[in-house]
Symmetry: D3
Subunit: 286 residues, 6 copies
């Protein structure tokens, strides 16, 4: 009886969120540990399946985990570095495209479809989805590393409209037919912005944005873009927390309603963040 009442309370807590976000587009950047550990992988897939089942429109943007390095090793390709930055030559870019689009994406599609959800794996070339250009980083030519110039959303919205979950590999192209590798966080951010997504979720290997990176209890639950700017200015957010904060700010600035940094190592963190009052991780809003 006591158990029943507790159940009823969780449901009463969750139901308004289910209603509130019905039909929402949620872009999930999937990478890090949650992509390697088989148990966590299944937990993430389950959460995405449930989100789809109750009426959300999830879009998955994935990284490559260790698979790209493995394949480079197999073909005896050595990585070159300039000033400590890895250089992506044309062959590397092609191998990365093959691994991301021809292997990892297809495996995610299979995992989702095993739970009865239809999915389609594309990369940024399909439907000219990620129009890109060479990225310049402090004047160093990193080779075929690109940044997103424009997102054509027709293909993504068509797939969602027909109930397919899009699974996107962060590979782009330009009018000259070059193939570019793109940072998956930035690709997710650009896609979420172009889709005017309600939520953009980064599954990471940290608890969220921490005021003290060594103390998980120092997590910031909610903050605005302005607060984030101030925290960076005054040093509250520092070191490795800065790029994470910037990624969120980038998403908000591109029109996403809320951006979340979740701990991909916590089971069902996606579900808890969306359907409970407390949530987990950090949420940034305008």
């Amino acid at each position: 009886m006591q158990h029943a009442i507790e159940k009823a309370e969780v449901l009463i807590e969750a139901l308004p969120y289910i209603r509130k976000f019905a039909g929402s587009t949620v872009v999930v950047k999937y990478g890090g540990s949650a992509m390697i550990d088989e148990h966590m992988k299944e937990s993430v897939i389950q959460d995405i399946v449930l989100m789809k089942r109750i009426g959300f429109n999830p879009v998955v943007v994935h990284g490559g985990g260790n698979a790209i390095s493995d394949q480079l090793k197999k073909v005896g390709k050595e990585s070159k570095f300039i000033s400590g930055l890895r250089i992506t030559d044309q062959e590397t870019a092609q191998i990365a495209e093959m691994v991301l689009s021809g292997s990892i994406g297809k495996a995610l599609v299979q995992a989702l479809q095993n739970h009865g959800i239809q999915a389609v794996s594309i990369n940024g070339k399909d439907g000219d989805t990620l129009v890109s250009r060479k990225k310049l980083s402090s004047g160093i030519d990193l080779g075929f590393v690109g940044e997103v110039v424009k997102v054509n959303t027709e293909l993504l919205t068509s797939l969602m409209q027909h109930d397919f979950v899009p699974v996107v590999a962060p590979v782009g192209t330009d009018a000259q037919g070059n193939t570019y590798n793109i940072n998956a966080d930035y690709a997710a951010s650009a896609i979420a912005g172009a889709l005017k997504a309600q939520k953009l979720v980064f599954l990471t290997d940290v608890e969220g944005i921490l005021m003290d990176k060594d103390n998980p209890d120092s997590i910031i639950r909610r903050l605005s873009v302005t607060q984030a700017e101030n925290f960076i200015s005054d040093g509250t957010i520092a070191g490795g927390m800065i790029p994470k904060a910037k990624c969120c700010m980038d998403g908000i600035n591109q029109g996403v309603e809320s951006v979340h940094i979740l701990d991909g190592r916590l089971p069902h963190s996606l579900l808890l963040e969306i359907f409970t009052n407390d949530g987990c991780g950090t949420m940034m809003t305008r």
Copy 2:
């Protein structure tokens, strides 16, 4: 952390049901203690509001509680009985209609609307919804007590289509313009059948159908119509449990997918029955 995992489990348990029953029509017979106790009243109203919010189509069929007797007393009307059965003369039928349609139904509408859900109270005359005739009970003329001959669903479906929750008082009419009082359980059953409702729920003052009426632990969680027939034949279901079982069988036979007998004295029993694996009360299916 442990708490978070338990929450996630309740959600994972509930989500498939939310999906499964989205758009379902659920007819709730509301009466008994749940109609008298202010606290329980609010719990039932909350459950109906949540059901509507997440995409169900609830229809409420209500009884009159003590209000009809109170009003009869006020106008100095005495009840007559034949062989222990109460006789409903024309004046009594008219007073019952006034109380049900002009007072109780309107109060339910107000309670639902206080939670932001639109509702409309009708009786069986509106839109000729409950076409009725005089009910004969073992040859005794009970006066203006009727049974449903046909349910015209146009008004109910129009209201639901425009997002109004219908609140129905069990009063019917015939072609001669007579006014009949109808038993609310049977009215709910007829309405659920005509609407091809997914669920018909009776909020009662018992835990469910019990094999031993004095032992709540003897509750039957699920049973089919055939099983119910056998249980009645062999005396497992006996005494006051028989009419409850028959009411369920009646609903199933009219085309409802599942009929539930819930304990209206348990807070949020409606919610628990629909969104948890265990449910509460008794569920009958074909």
Copy 3:
């Protein structure tokens, strides 16, 4: 032959009006003698049925005739007066609501449905149709007498869209859940204005607005709001004619195209007013 030609002339006179008003919303305030005399009652019901049959959208707003007083008497309720004005305490308001919504409205629904037209009786609480507040009259607190603050038209238009004739009892509510009795003339005027009705018709016990209240031939056939104001200023419209004129002006000011005061004691006055060049009664336009 002569008779045929006369018939043809009546038809040629009527046909353009039928065309002109097809699809029009006509709010009919039904009360007074036309509500008491059985013969007149049938004549009014016939006219409403015909209006509906040829493609108009009638909405009926009804008063309570003598039935409220009768019921008050039955329960031994005495009316209180302050400065000659009747005070409506909570119990009186509840009895009035029961009689209007649970008895008179339902009887009108039955009468219309006997002619094959579907109807639905609601009061201002259903669908939050008549949002009201306490009315103050020259500083005297009349109790639960209300005035309309806002008309939510969703329920009315949904019913009309599905070919149900709405029958409205002038009872309203506020956010605190109070029940208010509302003057039926003003309720009709507010509803007609909110629906942007083409016509608002008051069935009264006078021939129309008379320049000399004792001379039916002094009837004003057509007048504008400005003319009415002038007639009141210069005393042409005087005494009991003033509130009737004000009711019309009120309707026009709320956006109704034309407001009619008809003699409910003349058979088929509704029909004649709408379908003949001469009309009967008084018509006010902007």
Copy 4:
């Protein structure tokens, strides 16, 4: 007052018919005296305009009156006869086509449009509406006189759908490109049948079908196809009344609901037939 009541009675008599026939297709064969006398012409045009205004779909099939003979005379064309039957050679057929389609039809269009109704004059070649073949009459070759083999209704229904009144000249064609004159009565009958018209009306120079052709009072108001067959068999319908009866039977047999023979010399006979209980003329039904 008495006058008002009479008006109300005519209206109450007419309204059900207006409702009953709303959206009906009514094919009017227009010819004879009603086509020559200017006053009657205007009366017919008025009736068609009113029918259209209140929601009927009239289709006019017209003859040529005296205009074809006049034009033949102008070009000095003499008519040939075999066994008393007029022979239509190719030149005569072409002149008839020009007069019907290029002059009379266009004048009717103008007359209707003067009353604010849009109309379009076509002949049976347009949209391949009247697929025809040479008519053989008792083995005599009458030249280019045709009978209707098939009616393609696409053009007629398209015009009606866009609120144009079709005005049809009874000229047909075959696959070899021949031009045929067709009897307007039979063309109207074929068109009404193909359109599954509710009514087919012949405006003639008689009161209707008479039992005694010299006594207008012997008019048959209503009869069935079977009755007509019997009346012809037993000689009740005789002489010039036979072809009129056969024309009606033909229409009914092709699927028209009722066929009417009216006196085109009586003002507004169309209107009276359709909107009054007594009607005028003869009506045949299945």
Copy 5:
């Protein structure tokens, strides 16, 4: 093999135009030699049929060729002239209307329908398509010669929407019911403008607009309105070329995208102009 490659090249040249103009409205003014020579007639009809088949919406506006003069001769009607201009009296206007609408238009309909395309012949009175007025030419009263005041496009667009090719005789009317003959070039121009046609094509007896009227090689392939104005000013376009140029300018000024002057004596000139890069004749654009 060589032949196959040449075929492929023609197709590759044509396909983009087919795509580009799919769904376009093309108004074809049909007159001159192409209307008299049987072989050319068939070539024009074929081109219109093919245009319709691949998804264009052709509208044909035709002149009367020699047929009007022939008919006038038959009825012994002599033409009158003032200052060398032909006077159109009422009888002449009526005969022209009969010939254009009752004979030539119907023959074109038959020719198109022989190729399986549905067509409908109308004149400017039908659907009040060509609202006209008397044309004054340098102060001389030419009788019933009209100019277009307004084009009502409802009938034309309805016919096209239902896949009928409209064939229009240049006859107009005014509110007084007068019948006017209208110059077919100007009627075509007004219709094309009102329909916002993509193309207006004049089939003429010249190669196009020539800089030297005696040298076909001096043809101007493309020019803008401004260039045409300049060419007229500086005398490059002179003599009989001026009215042709003005007709084109008129079309462009009324909103047509491009106007073409083609040589109706060249087989399939319509097809070549539309589907090849070189085209034939002269094209004017804004």
Copy 6:
């Protein structure tokens, strides 16, 4: 002038086919020489682009050319053979999938998009398009070589509906999550059958089905399934021509209207086959 007439003739020949096949689904199996020679590649891409531009729905199913072997060589993978048949172990299947889906398909997408047509490259796992199982060939286990069990067409039709050209790599999966390589000819045939395609076109390295494989002039232009069966029985179709004939028969038996074997080495053979009377290559129909 002569040139113009010849152009007109090619157009008149082509136009009916354009009309006839508008909206048709055409599955093109792209492989062989046409995939290796850069010039031919461009010719095929141009033909597909033009087909799409004029309203066809092309679907491309591609093989892997030499790229799979090249990649196997790079990772030092040796092929094993049993009884002369190549064995596809799991690693080989994965590499083939990566090359087909992650490299060749994406390059085709880019080539099509360079001409302004949107395309999307998928493999049989996406949207569970190619449900497969292990193929057994005369009892020899070839490893991860599959055959199509079922084609789910939802993804393909969704893409086409939104104007994306689907580019399909012949890789399939089963419920156990195995990855199978599928023969591209059979994949194309299964897809065309499931889509009820109007046409299935194989771009091959032969002229068509030859009666004498050494004599291109012995090509069979058209044949039915029955004729093909007879030709195989009587030895007219022999040797390497048999599998090609069987592939066509297979397509027809799965519901495709016509199957074409074209010479991919002939420029624009696709275009000529579809838009000229003679066509090129062999066409099989039921």
